[in-house]
Each structure stands twice: as C-alpha cells, then as structure tokens.
C-alpha cells in the first residue's frame, strides 16, 4: 500500500494545527472523509481538503508535501508509523511523540519534540529554540526516544530533558542542556554560552572544544570512561563524524552544575 499523501495546495491562511493527523485517527477514513476533517486554524477551523490535495494510502505512512513554517504540531503525540514532511514545519512538531518516526525534510520551529517520550524525530534542516524542551509551565522535557537535528538548534536545546538521546550535528544556541535532569545530549558543533546551566545529572557530549561553560562547572581532568565505547557507535549511527571526533583519546570532563545537584557531566575533546 502506498503512502497517504497530503499535498499543500496554497499558502496557509494562518497557523494550522495538524496534531489530529495521526495514523490511529486516520485509519479507516476514505479520501473524502479525510478532506472533510476540520483543522484548527486560528479561530476558524478549515477543512483539510481546502488546504491539501489528498492521495489516499496507508495512514501509517503519511507524507506531507510542501511545508510551511505555520504548520504546527505535526505528528504531535504520534505513537507509531511514519510521518514524512517534504518541507518546513512550524512549532511543536512531534510534541509528546511516543513512537514511530517523524522525518522533517526541512527546518522546524520552536519546541520541536517537546517532551517527547519515545520514537525518533529527524530534522534535516535547522531546529528552532527549545528543542525537546517542556512547554511553558510544564516540568519535564524530553523523556525518551531520539531527536536528531542535522543542522543547528536554537537556544535551550534539551532543556529539562529526563531521558533519551538528543543529537545536533551543527551548533546549539545558548543554554544548551540547561536544567538537564538526565539523558544524553550530543552537539557536534559549538554549544552556545552558559551551556549546561542548572544541569542536575545526565551527559553532554561536545564534538568541539568547549568554551564559556558556566563558572559552576568543575574540570575533572582528561579521562576516557568505558561507557563511551558503547555510546559512540550509537551516535555514529545518526552522524558518523562522532566516531572520529571522540575517537581514541581521553576527553576533557567537567562536572556540574554545582549550583544544583552537580552530578551532570560535559565531555569535550581537548
């Protein structure tokens, strides 16, 4: 069965919430029924058919052709199957994802993968600020799964993360891994100012020599812990450059944030 395809017909009239388009909710619906679905768009819902041309297919293999930075909450709450977007998406893409794969062949807005708990999100372009981070007022960020940004990430990537793996192939903005509770964040490029602020536990791997860490991190010297040999092959599955970047030699390690729990750690090459 081929993919269920939604092709954007025209520019969006406003911000459109796509969180309802999940395989479990689309299962059993014909093309006409899908076109009639109401999508929240500002104060007035719009029929899906007005915005998208529908080509029926397997709802567990959903393709959205033609992105738009105002397409919000794409694949939010996804619990299986695959959603592919050929283009850019807006805010909260993959929010609360629990399973399946969200593949964004473009950039994504703020709060991508917010509080996701499983599955995988790939952003082939740049991601906005607060990658994986909790919504305003929420306590927990990412709680599982893999969130991989091929480009750069905005400020506060991985904030309040509890579990899972967050990879950024490019640079990360300021306050990367801020208030991290646990889990693993890996930034191949540069991490911005005040990286790791408020970090309680967890691991931040930097592929580029660290600069400007908060003063509440203490250096523990160069060292190569055994678990890296298990972790690096996993990172390399998403970005092969990690193998060479963290290869063979001891890494510099800092612990912190000593202003809080202080059991977090940052590794970077010399």
């Amino acid at each position: 069965m081929s993919a269920l395809t939604l092709e954007l017909r025209r520019p969006l009239p406003g911000r459109v919430d796509l969180s309802g388009l999940r395989p479990d909710r689309l299962a059993g619906l014909g093309a006409a029924a899908i076109e009639r679905l109401a999508l929240p768009c500002g104060r007035t819902p719009v029929a899906l058919g007005e915005l998208f041309r529908v080509r029926p297919g397997d709802p567990a293999d959903l393709r959205i052709l033609g992105g738009d930075p105002r397409l919000d909450r794409v694949a939010a709450g996804l619990d299986g199957g695959r959603v592919l977007v050929e283009g850019e998406v807006g805010w909260y893409a993959g929010e609360g994802l629990r399973g399946g794969v969200l593949d964004i062949r473009g950039g994504s807005g703020p709060f991508t993968g917010s509080a996701m708990a499983g599955g995988e999100i790939h952003v082939r372009g740049d991601a906005g600020e607060r990658l994986g981070a909790p919504r305003a007022g929420e306590r927990r960020g990412m709680a599982g799964g893999v969130l991989h940004v091929y480009g750069n990430a905005g400020a506060r990537a991985g904030e309040r993360m509890r579990r899972g793996l967050l990879l950024v192939d490019g640079d990360a903005g300021e306050y990367c891994a801020a208030r991290l509770i646990a889990g693993t964040v890996a930034v191949l490029g540069r991490a911005g100012a005040l990286t790791g602020t408020g970090m309680r536990r967890g691991t931040l791997l930097l592929g580029t020599a660290a600069e400007g860490l908060p003063p509440t991190f203490n250096a523990t010297g160069a060292w190569r812990p055994g678990f890296l040999e298990l972790l690096i092959p996993v990172l390399a599955r998403y970005q092969p450059a990690w193998t060479e970047r963290l290869g063979g030699d001891p890494l510099q390690r800092w612990v912190g944030d000593l202003a809080t729990d202080g059991r977090g750690e940052i590794f970077a090459p010399d």
């Binding site: 691991t203 055994g226 040999e229 996993v234």
Partner: protein, 302 residues
C-alpha cells in the same frame, strides 16, 4: 559397542535442569579479563558446596565484545533463579568489580522461556555511595560505578535461561596417567564448543559421587563402585585391569549442547584406542530417578 576399540558401556549419564546465565567480562587486556573470569569461576565446581557451577566458556576478541576490548564469556549455573541471582551478584561484586579495568556485560538475550532476569549492576551500584550513574544506551541500562582506576561499567541485569547441568562420562583406564591424558584431550575438545562449561578443576573430577552416605549428615559420598582400592571390598564395577577412573562433567545451555559436548569429549578420550590405556567409557547416573535429562552413551555416539 566400541569406539576406536574402546568399549562404550551400555549406560546413560543423568543430568539435571538448572538455571543459567552468560556474562561477558572485558578488561584492558585479555590477561586481565581472564584473571577476573578465573576468579569469578573459582570455587564453583558443584552446587552442593559452592551454590553455583561456573566456568569460562570462551575468550572473546575485541570485535566480539560490547566495548571493543578483549573479553571472556562466563557461564553460571544454579539450581534456582534465586540461587543464581544470589551467587552471581556476590561473585560479580567480589571478583569482577574488584579486578582492575574490568567491565561486566550481559551475555545473552532472554529467550521465550527465560525466567526473570538476574541482577548485575542493579544492586552493585550502591557501592558508588551516591556517585553511581546510570546510562541507558540502546534500550539497555548500564551502571557506572566510580572506582579507584576510573569507572566500573556494569550492565543492569543479565537474562536467565533454563539449562542442563551434570552431563558426564567416566574414563576407565589402566593407570592414572592414561586416564588423565585421555581426559585432557577430551577437555580440550569440549572447551572448543560454545554454550558449555566444565566446572571442575581443569574440567576433570576424580571424586565421582553416589547419592547418600552411611553418615546421616552427608547427601553424597564417594562412588565406591568405581574406586580401584575398594575392589574386593564392595560391589565393584571395575574390571581387574582398571587402575584409575576419572570423570568429566559438563553443563550446557541446552540438551543439544550437552549431547554435542559429550560426543566430542568421548571421541577425543577414545582417540588413542585401547593401546593408550583407556579401556572403557561409562557414565554416572542415579538410576534415572533424579535427573530430567538422560544421555545414553551409545545413542549419543550413534
């Protein structure tokens, strides 16, 4: 039936259902991995006195281990899952945690019939006194316990499977040198096989036992029917030309593993023919009432 001119007695080996797990120990060098494994599998010959039966299954190349260092795989067998958990944890804590540069990994996936996994780092982590850290990598939890040479990396738990313990055969020879040489050849052949260990010293037992004793407190005692010095005193099973008997005991993960190991071992023991001094191959059993697994020698070799 004869194999290479050596008589194969029409009897069977009797073995028991056990609970087993495999762990992988890695270290900075093969020597240190082996040191930890030998320590961990020391004093693990029989569940009667040691609580657990264990042995080194194989040496592993860096490409075969989880962390890319030289390693050793160890199999441990116990009569129950609780026993296995208790002794594994004790040995991991005293023999592997303590050994320089080692890391400890689960060595098997849970099968469909697997019981509750046995803990490895699950409780050992408390040695870290609050500085231990867990890492979830590819869905598996590991513990990082700070120690004086860095960190002891230890898998959270290992899978547990049903297994077979106590497969055996007896080598009856004209002298102890001949019996030992045949057993050494058998041990070498059996140790090349995966999924089995020979828990006794060098893989060989000289104190074969029977069930019961004249002393009430003892559950087992010397197998007098096979003791050459008791010929003429008890109902001996030894022909006049037999001066020494040695036994090889094998534990394996499955019935087929034990069967294959017995076949390989008996074949190697008989390779020299009767001229080597090996005259007869027998096996230990308890009349078939105690163990769930029977290995009739002639059928195993057929």
């Amino acid at each position: 039936m004869h194999l290479n001119g050596v008589e194969i007695e029409d009897t069977f080996a009797e073995a028991f259902g056990m609970q087993a797990t495999r762990v992988i120990i890695t270290a900075i060098s093969a020597r240190w991995a082996r040191t930890a494994a030998e320590t961990m599998t020391g004093f693990a010959t029989s569940v009667i006195g040691c609580g657990v039966e264990a042995g080194i299954e194989a040496e592993l190349t860096p490409a075969q281990t989880p962390d890319g260092r030289p390693g050793v795989s160890v199999l441990l067998f116990a009569m129950s899952g609780d026993d296995l958990a208790k002794h594994l944890e004790r040995r991991a804590g005293q023999c592997v945690l303590t050994c320089p540069t080692t890391a400890l990994f689960a060595g098997m996936e849970a099968g469909p019939e697997g019981g509750k996994p046995v803990p490895l780092g699950q409780r050992l982590r408390f040695f870290g006194d609050g500085h231990q850290a867990s890492k979830l990598i590819d869905g598996r939890r590991y513990w990082r316990i700070p120690v004086m040479d860095g960190e002891f990396l230890c898998a959270e738990q290992s899978a547990r499977v049903k297994a077979v313990g106590g497969g055996n055969f007896l080598v009856l020879a004209t002298g102890v040198e001949a019996a030992l040489a045949a057993c050494e050849a058998a041990v070498a052949a059996m140790r090349r096989l995966p999924n089995v260990v020979l828990p006794f010293p060098g893989g060989v037992v000289r104190s074969g036992s029977k069930v019961g004793s004249k002393y009430k407190a003892l559950p087992a005692s010397t197998n007098d029917a096979y003791c050459p010095t008791l010929r003429g005193l008890v109902e001996s099973r030894l022909a006049p030309d037999i001066r020494a008997v040695l036994e090889i005991v094998v534990n394996g993960l499955t019935d087929a593993d034990v069967r294959g190991a017995l076949r390989a071992g008996i074949g190697a023991a008989c390779a020299g023919g009767p001229e080597s001094g090996v005259r007869r191959i027998s096996a230990g059993n308890y009349g078939g009432r105690l163990g769930q697994f029977h290995y009739p020698l002639r059928e195993v070799l057929a």
